[in-house]
Symmetry: C2
Subunit: 350 residues, 2 copies
């Protein structure tokens, strides 16, 4: 299996990725939702461009350095950074970025919007700022619709920035509650005479229920481009929809119920996402990825039936962190290897 | 705090790292143990050279690509790769590496040593191969002393390779059992008229008990150079001995018992190593790193008492995987920033 490749290798099947892109774009089109893919999963400008070509309105990034990397090759001109941008270094880079693309950010506090305002006060065009709303995810976000309305008003009263709408990373399976939260916030803001042009919702686990928050105007989603074991276990995709796998080699079979392969947490990571085990061995449902150390993976089965030198493909628990571990992925289409491709935005955490 | 640095930044305090290197070198010297540091923790040729200068006999690597990266700058001429090397691509690279440094590898099976033998059959010098022994760690390794003796004999009967001794990654706190296992294997091998020049033991959790396996001739150890929360919790080091920390910025304080900072699993990783929480906030023992998503860290406390823009330093649970997440670390000495330094062997998994 891809015998010319050294292992471990992170394989990306473009046929599957393109089908994943097309399928969810169709779903969004059918429900009148704009799609704004999150590039954190693939970190490849090449795939971001395909998402745009398929109909996406722009991309989502978490960090400025991701956005800088994604626009380095051109073809991407609309970026939402779903992050409170804080600190003079980042604000300077944000200002530079805004001169290259149509840019929006989010904020959930006055300190952040004050920094944005000071940075963009002299800009030709005000920076578009969405209010991040905590609709139950308990990460960032204002915690009440009233606080959302207050921050929206503050944004519109400051120089250099303008209120762009509401954004949330919602709790899974709580569509009705999310709709209610956002509706209340929107009504409060509109009652102040402020328009709410964008309602940005997101998340791969709830992707096929995206339309159950009908007031959302756009949907942000990352994992769907590759899919992974966490989404398969939730019933969101099948193994055949998983575009990314890790090609590994068995390097030791110490006992008849245990084998060891040549990838560990430095490729597959320790992400469990609530699952038992560290991945799915394609074609071997009876084998468990029972443990990982940094460079070793442990397989167990009643009878392991593997030999040193065997090659396997593993679907990771969480694909977004795996593509970030390697400097390059190996592109494939089915059984055809297309060559290595740099993960341009890998490690861009600032 | 290092206000000129963008965050998140991985800081390495050279004063502390050098003290850690010196202290364990003294321990090994006092007990007649050779020290062979594992470079997986720092992945920096610069620090490997300091370990050699302090008295280490050579370095340990897990992967060939790590070794290639470590010798790229010179000054390192003795490398043990503690891995079964399998596959034609890797064997070719191993042969090239052996022409540049004094090289040893380990093996636990006949397929591996057959590949090594075929590769080195025409070499001027035979490749030194240690037998990896599973003394209770249940990863790689032959599982009985008798199997170790059998593999040692096979190695010495093959062209191009020679038996170099025994290697184990031991279970923690089982020094007497490890000593007994290795003693039995050594006696069986010597009874066949084969010398056992090296007994290589290792592991940071048991570092201060290294001498309790008195038959070991050398000790391999990685984490000790930086230390981390897992070793502090085990009583192996103090917070003052932790050389690596992650500088982060608070970007959101949604409630009075929760704050969010700008690093997640893409810097700190999901490694728990059995611990509760995802790191230790230096100087803030009442604050818990309660959760991580990819680019966000969640802090909780009864009263969080932080504001947006505050900077914190976090000691990771597991330092070896954190330095591997970033393309460069920021070197410091106390409060003095020395500049960025590339993590040369980052992502070298083949």
């Amino acid at each position: 299996m891809f015998s010319e490749m050294d292992t471990p290798a992170v394989l990306v099947d473009l046929d599957i990725a393109e089908a994943n892109i097309a399928r969810f774009q169709e779903h969004c089109d059918a429900h009148g939702l704009k799609l704004r893919p999150h590039i954190k999963t693939h970190k490849l400008p090449m795939l971001a461009k395909r998402q745009i070509e398929a109909g996406a309105v722009g991309i989502t990034c978490q960090k400025i350095s991701e956005a800088e990397a994604m626009i380095s090759e051109g073809g991407i001109d609309d970026v939402l950074i779903t992050y409170n941008i804080v600190g003079s270094q980042k604000l300077s880079r944000l200002r530079a970025l805004a001169q290259k693309v149509r840019l929006s950010v989010v904020a959930d506090n006055t300190t952040t919007i004050s920094g944005l305002s000071a940075t963009f006060a002299q800009a030709a065009t005000p920076l578009c700022v969405l209010v991040e709303c905590d609709t139950g995810g308990k990460r960032c976000g204002v915690t009440t619709p009233l606080a959302a309305a207050k921050l929206a008003t503050e944004i519109n009263e400051m120089a250099g920035i303008k209120f762009g709408g509401l954004m949330t990373y919602p709790p899974v399976g709580q569509e009705a509650a999310v709709q209610a939260w956002l509706s209340e916030a929107k009504a409060l803001i509109e009652a102040k005479g402020i328009a709410v042009p964008v309602i940005s919702n997101g998340g791969s686990p709830g992707m096929w229920q995206a339309h159950d928050v009908p007031m959302a105007t756009e949907y942000r989603i990352g994992t769907y481009v590759y899919n992974d074991r966490s989404l398969q276990e939730r019933g969101v995709c099948t193994w055949d929809d998983c575009a990314l796998s890790v090609l590994v080699t068995v390097i030791s079979v110490p006992t008849n119920d245990r084998a060891v392969f040549d990838a560990g947490t430095k490729v597959l990571t320790s992400d469990l996402l609530g699952l038992d085990g560290h991945g799915h061995v394609l074609g071997c449902p009876d084998i468990k990825v029972a443990g990982l150390s940094e460079e070793h993976g442990i397989l167990t089965a009643e009878v392991i039936n593997l030999k040193v030198g065997d090659r396997l493909r593993i679907i990771p628990n969480h694909v977004c962190v795996v593509s970030n571990m390697v400097d390059e992925v190996q592109l494939i289409r089915g059984d055809t290897a297309l060559g290595a491709h740099p993960v341009v935005a890998r490690g861009k955490v600032c």
